[in-house]
Amino acid sequence: MTTVPHKQFQETLADTGLQLAIYSATGRLMDKRRATVRQEVLPDYQELRLQASALKKHTIENLDHYLEQFEASVAARGGKVVWCKDAGDAAEFLVRLAREKDARLFTKVKSMTTEEIDLNEHLEEHGLEAVESDLGEFIVQLAHSRPYHIVAPALNLTRYDVADLFTRALGVERETVPENQTKIARRVLREKFLAADIGISGANFLVADSGAVVLVTNEGNGRMCTTLPKVHVAIAGIEKLIPRARDLAVFLKLLGRSATGQPLSVYTSFLAGPRRPHEIDGPEEFYVLLLDNGRTRLLADREKRQSLYCIRCGACLNHCPVFRKIGGHNYPWVYSGPIGQVISPQYRGIGQDPWLPFASSLCGACAEVCPVKIELPKLLLELRGEVVKAKSRDGESRLERLGFRAWSWLMRHPSLYELAGMMGSLVLTSPEEGKWLRRVPFVPNVGPLKAWSSERDIPPLPAKSFRQLWRTRQGVAR
């Protein structure tokens, strides 16, 4: 059950084009990040991480206070906060709002939270059109797929894939030059922006003292969706809060650098309520949907609640040797990479995809680059423990436990242990110097042993054990 479904990954591993795409895209993002957090260009990078982490810790540990403060600040600016326990609540509100406003067309800013609750599908069921406006998300939507990467959603598609998609879905002449493809998207989406009734966004941050939604984009679609339609609805998890506007000075310096190696992304919008009487443009109505969807359950876990600090920069994906091989679609949910492995089981229940925390080498690269210092490998280990505990409750791992008990008994009897070692070194020998064994020789390769050895090679045991060598050395020393 906790066996990582390697077979499922084979398709991705065998696709050399895709392997190259993942490898080069994540590699480039790694390089660009490194260049912008270097000691010479950002001497207080580590201090910023500490501050960001401390600010998030404080906010999460006093979340009820900041949620209420945020709600009051939004109301004071003429906006409204809507509390949503799950996807259903959020969709229901939007459908009702659309009916009230006689709205048909939504334009959307890229948002992982709306992916999480399958918002587009919910809206489509009610005959409403929701158009993704980030170029990558637009492509993903045309392909009826899901984002491959938190910040680079169409990473797995080539310009030729995009050409096919555009020809099929938009009825345009085949165009394979990315610059021209972008122009096509600009033209198509510009019409949508100007015609949209309601703009939907996520939120990179929610600022408690200001009642503000902060959006960071590079293309300008965030500004389009929150400037042109009469109504702006932001949908955000309750963990997105930060206490004060000035805290943005810390977070903004980390977000762009960690995500794409930009000191600051092109557009950072700080949006506090609907347009004011003296302002010329902007939405007339402003709603913020605060989404639980499993977050309060995670909050109750003292150890693991730190995974709510995440600012979705995607750096842990880029630096993960597992993500860099298997890509984004082999993870079972919208959140991929190390952070996805940590939050998916917690949002959706540990019983779903119990293998997820095991698909990691625990190398620690993710924790090293995390701008808010989430201890990802530690949390993966914790989750592994939970999976195993649940299994032993179900009596599933009886054999495994028996094995470990025998092992522990052997360890407590040194002479027997040595004997077992000597026997082992006779059996576990390699025909070729240094070459690892594919399976345990002379033992029938069935059942749990087969399950174990099908995924692992075994190093040959050396002819002389450490204890034997030690005794010889001791002899020499005397």
Binding site: C84, L135, E179, N218, K253, V266, Y267, D281
Partner: protein, 210 residues
């Protein structure tokens, strides 16, 4: 009711009671280094140009007007209602239309105009960013819909960076419902990681510092 239900769950999870004040939040240490104007301007232009933006240092308001005039050169432009643009004489230039207070009119115009001309509240030297607060003087669309954005501001408006911005403007929401930081031209790398400028926002950005 979802509100009370969620707040109750949050409090139970954290072991907190309703209305319990938190300890003061950790300080976000903002550092505002002393950097002389020349250095700030040099940094600003360097950062902006690295992003593909164009920087021009105008000797005077007349010089700024001449730059804009040469740029627009017979094509169409919409200027914001910023008094600074009027002072520079930019709103009086041929081809430049200004003075719009009605959203629908402005939207229709911005959608078909070649240049959007605005001022800006601040510039950030470290990143080459413009800081724009929405108001009666500055509509949001002018820096967004036209394919070219031209911003004209006085050199004193160039701050060092984010830390200084949030020091002089600790509560932006008191002044406006929308503050936007614009750092270079609109861009994407969503297709094969190839950098392309001008996706939805302007693909060309000119900043004129007087």
């Amino acid at each position: 009711m979802s509100r009370d239900n969620i707040l109750h769950k949050v409090r139970t999870a954290l072991g907190r009671s309703a209305g319990q004040p938190p300890a003061p939040p950790p300080e976000a240490r903002l550092r505002v280094p002393e950097v002389d104007l020349e250095t700030r301007l040099a940094r600003f232009s360097q950062a902006l140009e690295a992003l593909g933006g164009k920087f021009y240092r105008a000797a005077s308001q007349d010089d700024a007007r001449a730059y804009v005039a040469a740029l627009v050169d017979g094509r169409s432009a919409v200027a914001s209602n910023s008094p600074y643009l009027e002072q520079c004489g930019i709103t009086a230039l041929a081809g430049v239309r200004s003075g719009f207070l009605e959203e629908p009119v402005l939207r229709g115009l911005c959608a078909v105009t070649d240049f959007g001309v605005t001022s800006a509240d601040y510039g950030l030297a470290d990143t080459g960013s413009l800081v724009m607060l929405s108001s009666r003087e500055e509509a949001r669309m002018i820096s967004l819909l036209p394919p070219v954005h031209v911003a004209v501001l006085a050199k004193e408006c160039i701050l060092t960076g984010l830390d200084e911005l949030f020091t002089v403007l600790a509560l932006p929401a008191e002044a406006t419902s929308s503050m936007v930081l614009i750092t270079g031209p609109s861009r994407t790398a969503d297709i094969e990681q190839i950098l392309i400028r001008g996706v939805h926002g302007p693909g060309e950005t000119h900043v004129i510092v007087v």
